[in-house]
Subunit: 368 residues, 2 copies
């Protein structure tokens, strides 16, 4: 193999694919990126066996071939080169790199031993806006279960119904749901549970790329995301997602609308006095006084009572939440004002942006 390309193109390609490769420790060859020149293009790719990323870069192929190269070293090295022409030649499982005043040899491994990336047929295309998808993933992913004792909730559900995709995540203490509208009505109803690692990697790549729209293909056991010259493919988590709709409260007894930043600050202040491990703060809503009172008592440290003015509606009410779950939800809402709806201290509370109906966050109370 012998190829030529610019430092800029190679650097960008390695930025896309090398991050995933650097993370694996099971099979040494998974620390490498695959460089190959099939079909007249230069392609870089990496896989951790759960997902695969490939990226085509522009350049000239003098002699076709393929090899795998240690991802981190290759990416770090190329990132430090000046933006000039680079020549890369492969011979005897080594690559020889030349760029201006630099000459380098890197020890590689045979491409024959590199695992094949899975593939998915491109049918039932869904076109999405990159920013919208990134936001939707960020607004839900944090609520997914951290450990994998219940694998089906350790990922994010992507559920297609007609003209929308719903992203849902829950760890059974709280749940986040975001709806994205899509233009073309989908005939197929699919439910795909994607690992959080895949979505984190997807967000990282969407943030580097300058592309505005991407194509998404979802099947029950796989998902494919295409951004121009980049393709990200991932296996899905097996299992059925819990029927979460039934726990979303259909009504409320008390409702407040508060400034989001003020509410976050109040909760942070009171949270300093929450009991460690329990993280409990008490919220009283007093419609007559048009205020909410947030308080916490800690026998070792002391106690705090904070009052916050709010638009209130319904009856006087009281509920205890884990303040971390509250803050997680509030910090992912982008509107200036937020709505909190509660029934009593045994039913979940609902948080949503004041003006949008596309996002919902539910928290279970701490029963006392």
């Amino acid at each position: 193999m012998k190829i030529f390309c610019t430092q800029e193109n190679l650097n960008q390609g390695l930025n896309i694919v090398s991050h995933l490769a650097s993370k694996s420790t099971t099979l040494p060859i998974l620390d490498n990126v695959l460089v190959k020149t099939e079909g007249g293009t230069i392609e870089l790719s990496s896989t951790n066996l759960e997902m695969g990323i490939s990226c085509q870069i522009r350049g000239k192929i003098e002699k076709p071939g393929k090899i795998t190269v240690p991802a981190k070293l290759f990416a770090d090295y190329v990132s430090l080169l000046p933006n000039e022409k680079i020549s890369i030649e492969e011979s005897d499982k080594k690559i020889y790199i030349k760029c201006t005043d630099q000459e380098t040899t890197i020890q590689g491994m045979s491409a024959e031993d590199y695992p094949l990336l899975p593939s998915l047929e491109k049918k039932n295309k869904i076109q999405l806006n990159v920013e919208e998808l990134k936001e939707a993933i960020r607004e839900t992913i944090f609520a997914a279960a951290y450990d994998e004792t219940r694998p089906e909730i350790s990922g994010v559900l992507m559920k297609i119904r007609e003209k929308e995709i719903r992203l849902v995540a829950t760890d059974s203490y709280r749940l986040a749901e975001k709806v994205i509208k899509i233009e073309k009505k989908q005939d197929l109803e699919t439910e795909t549970i994607l690992p959080t690692k895949t979505l984190q990697e997807l967000i990282r790549i969407l943030s580097i790329s300058t592309v505005e729209n991407l194509e998404v293909y979802l099947a029950e056991n796989q998902a494919l995301f295409c951004l121009d010259e980049i393709e990200i493919i991932s296996r899905a988590i097996e299992g059925s997602y819990p029927d979460y709709q039934q726990i979303i409260p259909k009504e409320y007894k008390t409702r407040i609308i508060a400034n989001k930043e003020d509410l976050i600050k109040t909760i942070k202040t009171t949270s300093l006095f929450a009991r460690s491990g329990v993280n409990d703060i008490n919220i009283k809503i007093r419609p007559n006084q048009k205020e909410m009172v947030v308080s916490a008592v800690n026998a070792q440290l002391g106690e705090n009572v904070s009052r916050l003015e709010a638009v209130t509606e319904g009856e006087e009410n009281e509920i205890v939440f884990n303040y971390r779950y509250l803050l997680d939800g509030l910090q992912n809402i982008t509107s200036e004002k937020v709505v909190l709806e509660i029934i009593n201290n045994t039913n979940p509370g609902v948080i949503r942006p004041e003006e949008k109906v596309d996002y919902l966050y539910i928290i279970m109370p701490i029963k006392q």
Copy 2:
């Protein structure tokens, strides 16, 4: 005790003193800050027994007294309050804090049990510019010995001679020396070795404070730094600092002047191929070709040769350095161009800024 002050003043004072207090785990009371109202002023202070920080804040004293309060909780809490008037009342080892819509109780500990801060007589005052001292500490502190097997080189030497202070640090592999001019000739010759922790805390406080000049008092076993309402006192490290002057080379055989950023980039690139743990890179200087050639060979990874144009003088020469020590020194030089002087591969190399004579960095070669 009952006092009133603004959130801004209290927050700034806690910012200064609480950081030190939060670091101690030996004596529980050292996690606290001392609040006291002696002599008509409100004073906050903290100590870790090695150093002490005190800060006076403006406010109104309704009833004098003193108490100690958990530093981190107090500082975190006050930082979240709005910038309004705060009232603080002490009773039965608790403090009661009121501010707008907030009421808080924090459990404290008796001030009687708090260790006394050491004190130093304010004589032989040296006035220094805050920015200059901060820069001088940053340019030397990184070279101090990391472990404390030789305590006398685990700190930074501050040496006063007539109209200058010299800051020196070494770990016996490299040495940094910075000279600060002072206006008033000092009669006393002192040498004070200050712990790196003290200087890190000093840099932190100098960076928060808006004061331009500070007063420094140095004695053999103590040092005092005064910035308006803030005082920082520290014990010095016992022992005599090694006679480092004798290892500073008086001559050179080969000298180059290179652009600092280019040199850093070249060293970083080659360093990717240095042997792990040894960190060795080879530098060849070829005056005839007006270049330096930096190279590294690693049996596992591969190898690299990089060329860099430079102004060269003297004979052809070669030396092997630990690239980390080289980068440490170069990254602390503020000038655009740097000078590297070497004799051979058994004598230390010298790095300095091209135009200034106030800074010197020496590195021992790796003998082969």
